[in-house]
Structures are given as C-alpha cells and as structure tokens.
Symmetry: C2
Subunit: 356 residues, 2 copies
C-alpha cells in the first residue's frame, strides 16, 4: 500500500475522546486530509487542538470529506468494549462504496462483517483490523537473550500518555544520535508505526508470548535501545492483566513511570490511583520475582495544568522519588532522555539454583 | 445430554502427565469406563494410580475401548500450547465414527476441524470444546456486590493442585453442613463441574470480566461461600497475567495458598519459586491496591514425600507463616476447612475519596 491519505471518523468525539485520531494525526507518517465530526464541522484541527500540528479541516459527513481526496477511512476513537456504534455503519459503508480502504482498531473485526466485506469487494477497498492479533507461540524465555536494553512504560492509569512518552523518547534518542526502536502494543501505536500487536486482544495464555515476540522483532533491527509502549495500570481492576503481560513478557531492563499527577482514581472505577512510591515499589517487587528492573524516571502528563502547576508537579515527583521527572510533551523529551539513558543497562533474569 | 460414559484418551501419558484424566476420574460425576494408553495397556487405573479410586481398565486403542460401551471420548491430557498431537487424529476419528461424543480441553478447537465435524455429523456425535469461552462483557465492578465471601486459590507454581484443593474444601464444607460453590476456571474443573470458563482462553482485555461473571453466576445459586479454582502463579513468566486476572476479576475476600513445598523453579523455566512469606506478601500487596484480601491458610501438595517428610513440610509452613497448613489430599480437608472458615468474611473494595 502506498502513502495513505486519511479521512478520520470521530463523530461527536474528536476533541475529547479520540486518542487514536490524535495519535495518528500527531505522530503518524501518513497524512490526515480531513476529520468527520459534525459537532465541530467547519472548524479545523489547528483551531480545536493546536498541539496536534495539523491544519486538516473538520467536516460533517464522510461524503463531505471525500472532497479532500482521502484513500483510507480510519476509525478514530476507541469506545469501551471496542464495538462499532450502530449509527456509524452508514458512514463506513459510504467510505467503502467510494473505494476507500478501511483501518480500524476496534475489538469488532470489521473484515468479518458480511456487509462491509461485500462493499469492500465490490469497490476494490481493503479492510485492516489493526487489533486482530497474529497467532503467536507461548512465552519461551527467548526474550532474555535480546541485546538491546528494553525500557517499558508503566502508568498510574490508562490513557495517561504512555505511547506518546515512548514515541517522544525514541525521537529524542534519534536526535541525540542513537537508535531506539519504538514497540507498539496497542491499536494507535500500530497505526502510527505500521507494525505491532494489540496485546489486549491476544488470548490470555499467549499475551506474554506476544510481548516476547514484539521485543524480539524490534531487537532484530539492531537498535541501541528498545522502547515499549505500556498498557493499562498494575492496579487497574479490569486491565491489570495486560499490564503484567508486558512486565513479564517484554522482560524490561528498566521502567519509566508515566503518570497523570492529579488523577485520583482509575478510569471510571472508584479504585484509588497509587502514589509514585507505591507504584515504584509494586512494579519493582513484581519484576524482582522474574527479572529485576528499576523505575529510572517519571514522565508526567500535566495536560490541563497551568505552567506553575505543571512545574510544581514535576518538582513534587522529583522530591518524592529522587528520580528524574519531566513532562515530555510540554517541555520536550531531550532532558529526560539524557537523564535516563545511563540507567538503560542490560540485566539478567533470575535463575534458581537447581542442580541440572 | 444424559449421563456420560467416558473413554479417556491419554496415549503414553496416563500415569505421569494427564491431570485432566486424573481430575475427571477422581472428582467427575460421570463414569470412566476405560482409559486408552498403550504403554500400560492390560493394567487398570486401580493398579497404576490407586488414589483415583477407579477400577476402569487401561486398553491399547480406541477400538478396544469401545468394548466397554463408552458414549464419549475425552481427551485426557493438556499438552503445552494445547495442540492435538497429529498421531491422535486417527483415534479421535475412530471414536467419532463409532458415534461417541467428543469432549476436549485443548486450545485447538476440534469443533472447527473440518474432518472431525464431517465425521461427527455423519455419525450423530457432538463435539464439546470445553476451553472455548463464551463472549463476556468487560469487567464492571458488579462482583464487588456478591453476597457470599469469595475464597480464591493461588499457588507457588502451575500444576500444584489448586483445583483439587478447592474441590476438597467444597466437599468438606458440605460435610460440615454448609454450602460452598466450586467455581471452575480451567478445562478440567469445567469437565468435572459441568460449567465454568477457561480463563486462559479468553481475550486478554476480557479476562477480568470472565472471572467476574463466574463469581456472579456462583453467587446467584446462593451458596454460603464461593470457592474459586486458581490458575498459574503470580511470578510465572508466561501465565502470571491469568493469575492476576483471577486476583482482580474474582475480587476475593480471602486467599488460600496452594504449594508444592519442595518445588524450586517455575515449571520448565529457571525462575525460582517464591517462599511462603514472599508469596503472601506479593498477593496481599496486589490485593491491597484494589480490594484487600489476606492469605488465610496453606494447602500443601506433599505428593511424592514420605509420611515424615510431609509432616515436616506441614510444620515448616505453619511455623514460617503462623497460618493453618495441611495437605488436604493426604490428610483430608476437614481440619483445614474448619481452620479457615472463620476468616471467610465479606470485605469491601477500596474507594478513592473523590468528591462526586
């Protein structure tokens, strides 16, 4: 497939609840030619979300978006449970009937929807379900032999910016003259990087095997460092198992803690978020049972805070933990990258002293 | 389906590597009429594994087993990765062609195998893939409102007897005049109890939802207690995510630690097993971040040890932890049940102090 020209579908959700759209617009290699969201139609991405650095127009319908010559429709939101809202079917069909390819990160597999498949076939369109995982083997321990030090992002909640932090750090590493391979583990990361596995979609027994395979694939490109996008949070009542799959399956040598500093509870649950020290302790304790790894830095998401508040939160993170802390979106990733790089050293897994 | 009469297929693995066969023979409500294992053909279950309390004969082939009038072929082993060994296909076809139903706990879905489906259809046989999970919703927190206290088994490794301990405790509870609903979370437990979900087969994002649903289903039968079969181990490099899914998704009020006391490393990995105190600490720390639960007792698997060694290990567990400890297979579950029952009290999840 050549260069994609995306029309992004995010009805009524573009500004507040479309992290897939935001990630692809900000970091993707392909161009976004327009966004479909009737609630802010007539405006532009530049006007409603200037930090995304795109002047794509926002339009009211897919038909209207066709005017900007897209070749691909991208589903720009990730609703809870990953289902396609029924009222979006007409939009998807309109795009397929216009010959646009379809890229989706939903749990619903659109390439298994008979009506979509017929429309795609009739108009020469292709459907890419980004979240559909390949068959992977069980975890084998092969990951313990990768050469590049592996840095994994962990977080105090979902949706705090773990992917963004790892992309920004990889870019900072490149700017500093070294190589760091970004490893996508969720749908948005996969759309941006063009490869990866949506670990949350893998059959539970095989999640650590999927993580292992991703790190092996990244290492095979011989980067100096491997930077893995994290998922969920270790005390997320629903998604912690995915977090633990990354923690054991990627066999990281170091962790970076990504946190929204004023978030009080996990997503829609009443479960309290943990303090920085509690988060460091619980991740390091778990890693210590298989392959030791330390938290080497903290990346804060101070989105919504004033300059002073952001500065205060960064200072608080530093003083509470004694670790380098920063907001890589607000202040750039160069400083944090240079602060953590010396800590990215290859480590060994534990071995039991069983006579062979 | 009426009463099943099982022919159990366990070629060359019946004695040492057929925990599904052993569990179904020992605890299942259906009768096992014969076992297929050429390596010990001519013997009987009674002779090779007396603790299973069955006088079923062991035969060399499925054809020979038909003499005992089975109505169902059960795949009696759970090979790594859950694949059907190619050399077993002929046996499975012979059974289907004789009109036997097929029960399988493999990851390979036999009801999706075209050759098996044709044979089953032609001879009126049915195929039950025990491990195939239903569609389940995401975790919602509804499990926090169940009425019965929930006891979950955790272990120092896979394959230490977590299912057996929970069935024995449920039986001891019944003998003591109360009701305890056993919740199966793996293929053998499902075959024994006739319901349940193989959590290791569920898509990662939905594993906690599957656990929640199982506990809700058990609680809907109004038992005094809910006893959940555990899976894996919290520091198992490959399967720990399944363990954590049970720990958060079942929202247990108490934990029972099941351990093989002299196991030094996790399954085929070099990862060392944890000490009792390390295991207690790590499970209680994780639970404390969502809904607190304590380890209330230790069930040891002293299989292979002498009477004296077993006694010593039970004493060591008691003195290292201060908790009630016993081997419920060797010594019966009555004592352990009475020791832990007072600790099975309903507990509340954490709530963050966010103004509504």
């Amino acid at each position: 497939m050549g260069k994609r020209r995306y029309l992004i579908l995010a009805p009524d959700h573009f500004v507040n609840d479309a992290k897939t759209a935001h990630g692809v617009i900000r970091y993707g290699k392909d161009e976004t030619v327009a966004v479909v969201d009737r609630s802010c139609a007539g405006s532009s991405v530049q006007k409603v979300l200037p930090h995304l650095r795109s002047d794509a127009p926002i339009v009211a319908s897919v038909s209207e978006g066709l005017r900007y010559h897209p070749n691909t429709l991208l589903i720009g939101t990730a609703p809870q449970g990953g289902k396609l809202p029924a009222q979006w079917r007409r939009d998807v069909l309109t795009a397929l009937e216009a010959g646009l390819d379809l890229v989706s990160g939903l749990h619903d597999m659109l390439a298994e929807d008979a009506e979509f498949v017929r429309a795609a076939h009739a108009h020469g369109a292709r459907i890419w379900d980004v979240r559909k995982p390949p068959l992977v083997p069980l975890f084998s321990g092969a990951v313990y032999a990768v050469r590049a030090p592996v840095l994994l992002a962990v977080g105090n909640d979902c949706n705090v910016g773990k992917m963004t932090v790892m992309i920004e750090l990889a870019n900072a590493a490149a700017a500093a003259g070294t190589t760091a391979e970004f490893v996508p583990t969720g749908q948005t990361g996969i759309m941006i990087a063009g490869w990866g596995i949506a670990v949350d979609r893998v059959i539970s027994d095989f999640t650590t095997g999927a993580c292992e395979r991703l790190v092996l694939q990244a290492d095979a490109r011989h980067p100096r460092y491997v930077l893995v996008e994290g998922q969920g949070s270790i005390n997320h009542p629903a998604y912690a198992p995915v977090t633990l799959a990354l923690l054991f399956g990627c066999a990281p040598d170091a962790l970076i803690l990504v946190a929204a500093p004023r978030r009080k509870h996990i997503e829609a649950f009443e479960t309290p978020t943990l303090s920085y020290m509690e988060l460091i302790e619980i991740h390091e304790t778990l890693c210590a049972t298989v392959k030791p790894a330390k938290v080497v830095g903290i990346a804060l998401n101070t989105n919504g805070l004033s300059e002073t508040q952001a500065h205060d939160e960064i200072e608080r993170a530093r003083s509470e933990t004694g670790l380098p802390a920063d907001d890589v979106v607000r202040l750039g990733a160069t400083d944090l990258w240079h602060a953590i790089q010396p800590q990215l050293i290859k480590r060994e897994p534990l071995r039991s002293c069983v006579p062979a």
